[in-house]
């Protein structure tokens, strides 16, 4: 309940809403019929609409028992605090009907509320001598320094969490000057990558500032996880018992989780590779669930490979080799992946004729694909689309899967779509004209478009804040965009109008992406939650909560069953769409994660962000398997080639870099014991294949065409 105090009004309403929608969404997903909308989902939740909140809250009231009364008081208190007077009255009336007396004196309510807050903070109340903290911390340092080399690195992991919590205890107990001197004395010796957090921490100098601060809230509501080997753990325990220092022991007990593993202690590089999370590393047990990372079996479509290819058929040799290629291609398609989820695990939209045509196109194009990896690899060709006269106002870019459309979002909240092919962008004909058309005709999709309206680019207006992310649907008729105004909008690329405004995120929405099969899309934002939406529902069907800070980027798995998110808490999480559970947590980034990419085989995940390192994660083995260093500024985009042999990255350092991903996979030593235990293994091998600098143009988006031509989108910054 204390969480309520830390979300603003709308956020907490969402949490209430979540619980009620969750039960209904199971059936919602299974039923493809959109007319059969579940009850709870139909209840529109407008943030400031008090009557709706009453409806929502009236449900739980009927369940009121003695112990729930407390909860009700808190809700009431919250409503009063936010001046929702009408709702308060309604709730009180409802409660009375249910036989609960709420109309007690308001003082008791407020008393409760403050109690809630203080109960959370009270973990810090401590009557120990404030000056003993420095001695105690120095003792811990001594313990680390005097330990054997093998354990030194492991124990050194403790110095940061113990430091921050000691500091917070001092602040909480009003020993401001002591806290300050404690901070100055010891902050210098901590690892570099903690500096960002330390500067946030140093800003907090009074107890009053601890309340309502997101960062502090994350620290004190989560135990800091330190992974440590059995031996090191025993050593630490022995040492602390010997010295009889209850202060350090207390801190470790109440604020730190020691995740103990069997076997040899980790090396310094291993520890450093996976360190950096806001609350330490992921616990082992968090990554236990099996993930069906394989690709779905392609539906059987009769792909007419033989008929058209008029150009090459004249040459016998080439057509023969082509045939062989086709055979390989077909055989590959038909094999069932043992790691794939069942086709019906997540209901997918039915395949339409247009989708079949698209699949045939993909298959044809992929035959002409250039190999960028392997022995006979060709160095990549890069076509760069540069925005001119944009003056750095471009904030989001996406290219459609068939590379025919480019959409860009701007700082001044408009969206523009360009056609990258000679085909112009046309609007659909008016309803009157459409009614005259023969709907059974083969060329209906062509005839329904108005040829007079063809232009090279179209502008979409609707958002009222910077557009942070865009995604074009696989069928190229829809576009979702997310913005600073807290909304996600669905646009039609046939009528060029806004179809739906999805409200739910209250704060800026940092990322959004269409699912690989359409129909579903995901969004994530500053409210630390990622949401799964279905285009025909105005409410999310899943919410993925667990990140400790903003969720900065999101990526749909190729089989539509999983979602990866990257966050400002420096962790990457993988979520199961079926039940909304977090199935993988990876730590290792030292700064916010800004982009993610799934490898085409679905097994590996690449992530990168402000700390400029690109990390490769193995979903099956649950470990980090590679690290690409080389960028000098934030990495904004990642893209795997269509065959998954190379990884391209681009960012604010104005370069496109291409990395040998295949080699990384070959280099993985599956017999390595450390790896089996989930320790990151990083080689010093340089995987950089090529490096293409641009002229003062940061790279915003990378996209491999179906033939493996790399498209990059950059924005020219006038050097003025």
């Amino acid at each position: 309940m204390a969480e309520l105090q830390h979300f603003s009004g709308a956020g907490s309403v969402e949490t209430v809403n979540y619980s009620s929608t969750l039960s209904s969404t199971e059936q919602d997903l299974s039923s493809q019929d959109s007319s059969q909308v579940p009850e709870a989902a139909s209840a529109e939740v407008e943030v400031h609409d008090s009557s709706d909140i009453t409806e929502e809250t009236s449900g739980p009231i009927k369940l009121v028992a003695e112990k729930d009364q407390k909860t009700l008081f808190a809700v009431l208190q919250f409503l009063r605090k936010n001046n929702l007077g009408e709702t308060v009255n309604a709730l009180e009336q409802e409660a009375e009907k249910a036989g609960v007396k709420l109309k007690g004196d308001p003082a008791s309510g407020s008393q409760l509320s403050t109690d809630e807050v203080s109960s959370l903070l009270s973990a810090y109340s401590n009557e120990a001598d404030p000056s003993s903290y420095e001695d105690n911390y120095r003792l811990l340092q001594q313990c680390i320094e005097t330990s054997l080399d093998a354990h030194k690195c492991e124990l050194a992991q403790l110095s940061y969490p113990v430091f921050i919590h000691m500091y917070l205890v001092l602040i909480y107990n009003h020993h401001e000057t002591k806290a300050k001197s404690f901070f100055h004395r010891f902050s210098g010796v901590l690892e570099d990558f903690h500096q960002n957090d330390l500067s946030q921490l140093s800003a907090v100098t009074m107890k009053s500032q601890m309340e309502g601060n997101n960062f502090i809230f994350s620290l004190r509501s989560n135990k800091y996880v330190v992974r440590i080997s059995q031996d090191s753990n025993d050593m630490l325990k022995r040492y602390l018992e010997e010295k009889n220092k209850p202060l350090v022991q207390d801190i470790i007990q109440s604020h730190i989780t020691l995740d103990v593993f069997e076997g040899l202690p980790r090396t310094r590089t291993q520890i450093k590779a996976s360190a950096g999370g806001l609350c330490g590393e992921a616990r082992q047990d968090e990554n236990k669930v099996k993930v069906f990372y394989g690709l779905l079996k392609e539906p059987d479509i009769d792909i007419p490979l033989e008929d058209d290819d008029d150009l090459d058929d004249s040459q016998d040799g080439s057509s023969k080799s082509k045939k062989r290629k086709k055979k390989e291609f077909l055989s590959k398609k038909n094999k069932a992946d043992p790691n794939a989820p069942a086709l019906t695990r997540i209901p997918l939209p039915e395949i339409k004729d247009a989708d079949k045509l698209e699949k045939i196109n993909i298959a044809k194009e992929s035959l002409k694909r250039v190999r960028l990896g392997g022995m006979e690899r060709v160095a990549p060709s890069v076509c760069c689309y540069t925005f001119t006269n944009a003056f750095g106002t471009v904030t989001a870019v996406d290219i459609s899967d068939d590379s025919s459309l480019l959409a860009a979002g701007f700082q001044d909240s408009h969206i523009r779509v360009w056609s990258l092919t000679p085909r112009t962008l046309r609007t659909v004909k008016s309803a009157a004209e459409l009614s005259l058309l023969d709907k059974e005709g083969d060329d209906i999709f062509e005839r329904m478009m108005d040829d007079c309206t063809g232009v090279e680019s179209k502008t979409l207006f609707g958002h009222s804040g910077t557009v942070y992310a865009l995604s074009i649907s696989p069928c190229r008729t829809l576009l979702v965009s997310s913005s600073e105004d807290g909304t996600v909008r669905l646009w039609s690329l046939l009528t060029w109008t806004n179809l739906v405004v999805y409200k739910g995120h209250v704060w800026p929405v940092w990322g959004t992406q269409f699912g690989p099969h359409g129909h579903y899309f995901v969004s994530c934002g500053q409210d630390k939650v990622a949401r799964l939406w279905v285009t025909d529902h105005h409410q999310p069907v899943r919410m993925f909560a667990g990140h400790l800070s903003d969720v900065d980027c999101i990526a749909f798995h190729h089989n539509s069953n999983y979602i990866a998110t990257g966050s400002s808490d420096r962790s990457v999480r993988v979520w199961d769409v079926l039940n909304g559970n977090c199935v993988r947590v990876f730590t290792g980034h030292k700064k916010p994660v800004l982009c993610l990419a799934w490898s085409p085989d679905g097994r590996y995940l690449a992530s990168a962000g402000v700390d400029t390192d690109i990390l490769i994660w193995d979903i099956a083995a649950k470990v980090m398997v590679g690290m690409f260093k080389g960028h000098t500024a934030a990495v904004e985009t990642l893209a795997f080639s269509r065959d998954g042999e190379v990884l391209a990255s681009g960012g604010l350092d104005n370069t496109v870099k291409v990395w040998d991903f295949q080699q990384v996979i070959w280099d993985i030593d599956t017999d390595d014991i450390g790896m089996q235990r989930g320790h990151a293994t990083i080689t010093d091998h340089n995987y950089l294949l090529s490096d293409f600098p641009t002229k003062e143009s940061p790279i915003f988006h990378l996209h491999f065409t179906r033939r493996n031509l790399l498209l990059s989108v950059a924005s020219f910054l006038n050097p003025s």
Partner: protein, 557 residues
């Protein structure tokens, strides 16, 4: 809170306390709080309150900035903008500062008076009429997309849309930590060693030179074309190779070609590194070739060596005053190299010495230091005297004459010592000859005849009588000449042209010169002989040079 944030926005420099050494410790000063309180009519704010407020303000401002960084990240920008701060305020449910835009980076003005310092935002009063009647600003161009090839099969085409190749080159250098160019220089040096068939040199070649050369690389920021690289390779090989004809052509090219400016840094490095390596190995021939390269570069009117003097001067200085320049100092004629390098040095002084870079005084200082150092060898002393002499009679008069007696005693001691060896004797004799000639020239101007041997002996010590003889001879020659001129009624013939060794002539013409002008020994020719030790004995060269050239070498200067 909103008020505080507003104040925070006007993040005046004075608003923060100045004693914030670390960026993380910046804090709002209590004075700022008091000033703000006064501005809204609260005077005499208690200290405790202002401290608390300052603390709180600092915290809130930091919080806002941390949040605004997020917005900056998601805008895919490296620069924090006002918009980001507005967005951060908005997400904290604080009204943003509408319309806070400024052309300046820091739009604050400073003012002080009455013991107080203040920073403020300048807000001019604007006349609405002016704004309404002002011509409309130009409509900005529409955003457009332009496609170009960033790379074609891994190669970046050189089109205006792509960054210039120089930039890439420098990136390559930084990445690899070494450049290609100096390597070719070293290779050229190596190849010439092989051509010389000198097993000593090729065997002894120290590895450290190549690494130290690599460490010089950041100077090479532009790339040479393939043609230029070929030219560089050819020239450096020819200039230090065994074929005199090719060398002459190479030097001719260096002295006359107009387009070498871009390669000058490489040549300069080639020379300085070449000297460094070869002086250790006492390879006289190569040192001479390198000095001739310097001469050729100096003669080229299109080149300005000024930027590369820091490499050239030490190399040349080494060739003048080094303790040992050849493997057999008793017979090899390293004196000619010292003289030659000294002349080049003088030329450098004349061309480039200014009152700011003080090249001449620094060079003179180096020579003097060597001369005054009791431990320096005779060969080094010879070099410094030669160097000083090339700088003109005034320099000799002020710097060498006072040392004449000391030097004389030293020479006397050496020559009369029972343990005299051939090396010392040759060195002492050369030094004696040099001192007599140059000092004699100067003293002649200082003293009036009659020249008495005793007077000279008293004044200049051991060398006195010799100088006296020299001066007497000079005076006789002068008198003879003036008589001849008077009788012929002609002007003095232009001796300088013939007597100055022509360094750039080709092999065929040099032999002609040699025969026609017996007074000018051709340095080129001589060095070409020198490079083939097997064909001509070193001692014969010694006599050839010693007997013919000595006087003529200095006539030009």
């Amino acid at each position: 809170m909103c008020n505080l944030a507003l104040m925070a926005e006007s993040k005046t420099p004075g608003f923060w306390t100045k004693n914030c050494e670390k960026s993380g410790l910046a804090a709002v000063s209590t004075d700022s709080i008091k000033a703000a309180a006064e501005s809204i009519g609260i005077s005499q704010l208690p200290d405790q309150v202002s401290v608390r407020l300052a603390n709180e303000t600092t915290f809130r401002i930091k919080e806002i900035f941390q949040d605004s960084l997020k917005f900056c990240n998601h805008r895919k920008s490296r620069k924090l903008s006002c918009q980001d701060i507005d967005n951060a305020l908005k997400s904290k449910n604080i009204e943003p500062l509408y319309g806070f835009v400024s052309k300046d980076f820091i739009p604050f003005r400073f003012s002080s008076g009455g013991g107080r310092e203040l920073h403020f935002v300048e807000e001019k009063e604007l006349d609405l009429n002016d704004i309404i009647n002002a011509p409309l600003p130009k409509i900005t161009y529409d955003v457009a997309i332009k496609a170009h090839w960033l790379a074609i099969e891994g190669v970046q085409p050189s089109i205006p849309e792509n960054p210039a190749p120089e930039k890439q080159f420098s990136i390559d250098i930084l990445k690899k930590g070494e450049s290609k160019e100096p390597k070719t220089g070293i290779k050229a040096l190596k190849s010439c060693h092989v051509q010389n068939n000198n097993p000593l040199i090729s065997a002894k070649k120290p590895d450290s030179s190549s690494t130290s050369l690599v460490s010089l690389k950041p100077q090479f920021t532009h790339e040479l074309s393939v043609e230029q690289q070929l030219y560089y390779k050819e020239i450096t090989e020819a200039a230090v190779g065994s074929s005199e004809a090719r060398r002459a052509e190479a030097l001719q090219s260096l002295a006359t070609d107009p387009g070498l400016a871009q390669m000058l840094p490489r040549f300069s490095t080639f020379v300085s590194e070449g000297v460094r390596v070869n002086v250790v190995q006492n390879n006289l021939a190569l040192l001479i070739y390198l000095m001739r390269m310097v001469k050729a570069l100096m003669d080229n009117p299109t080149l300005n060596l000024e930027k590369y003097l820091h490499e050239m001067i030490p190399a040349m200085m080494t060739c003048v005053v080094s303790r040992q320049l050849c493997t057999r100092p008793d017979v090899d004629n390293h004196w000619a190299l010292r003289d030659y390098a000294a002349r080049l040095m003088a030329q450098i002084c004349r061309s480039f010495s200014t009152s700011t870079n003080l090249i001449q005084s620094r060079i003179t200082g180096t020579f003097c230091k060597c001369l005054h150092d009791d431990k320096s060898s005779l060969a080094a002393r010879y070099g410094s005297v030669a160097g000083l002499a090339e700088l003109g009679p005034n320099v000799i008069q002020s710097l060498a004459l006072p040392r004449l007696r000391v030097e004389g005693d030293r020479i006397k001691n050496i020559l009369e010592s029972p343990l005299l060896n051939a090396i010392d004797r040759t060195a002492a004799e050369h030094l004696r000859g040099l001192l007599v000639k140059h000092c004699g020239h100067v003293i002649k101007g200082l003293r009036q005849p009659p020249d008495l041997s005793e007077d000279y002996s008293n004044e200049y010590g051991y060398l006195g009588p010799l100088i006296c003889q020299h001066i007497t001879k000079l005076r006789e020659q002068e008198a003879h000449k003036s008589r001849l001129l008077a009788s012929a009624g002609l002007n003095r013939p232009a001796m300088g042209i013939g007597s100055r060794p022509s360094l750039m002539s080709t092999g065929s013409s040099s032999s002609q010169q040699n025969s026609s002008l017996s007074s000018s020994p051709n340095l080129d020719h001589q060095f070409s002989l020198n490079s083939n030790p097997s064909s001509v004995g070193a001692s014969s060269r010694m006599t050839f040079y010693g007997s013919n050239s000595k006087t003529s070498m200095f006539d030009g200067s």
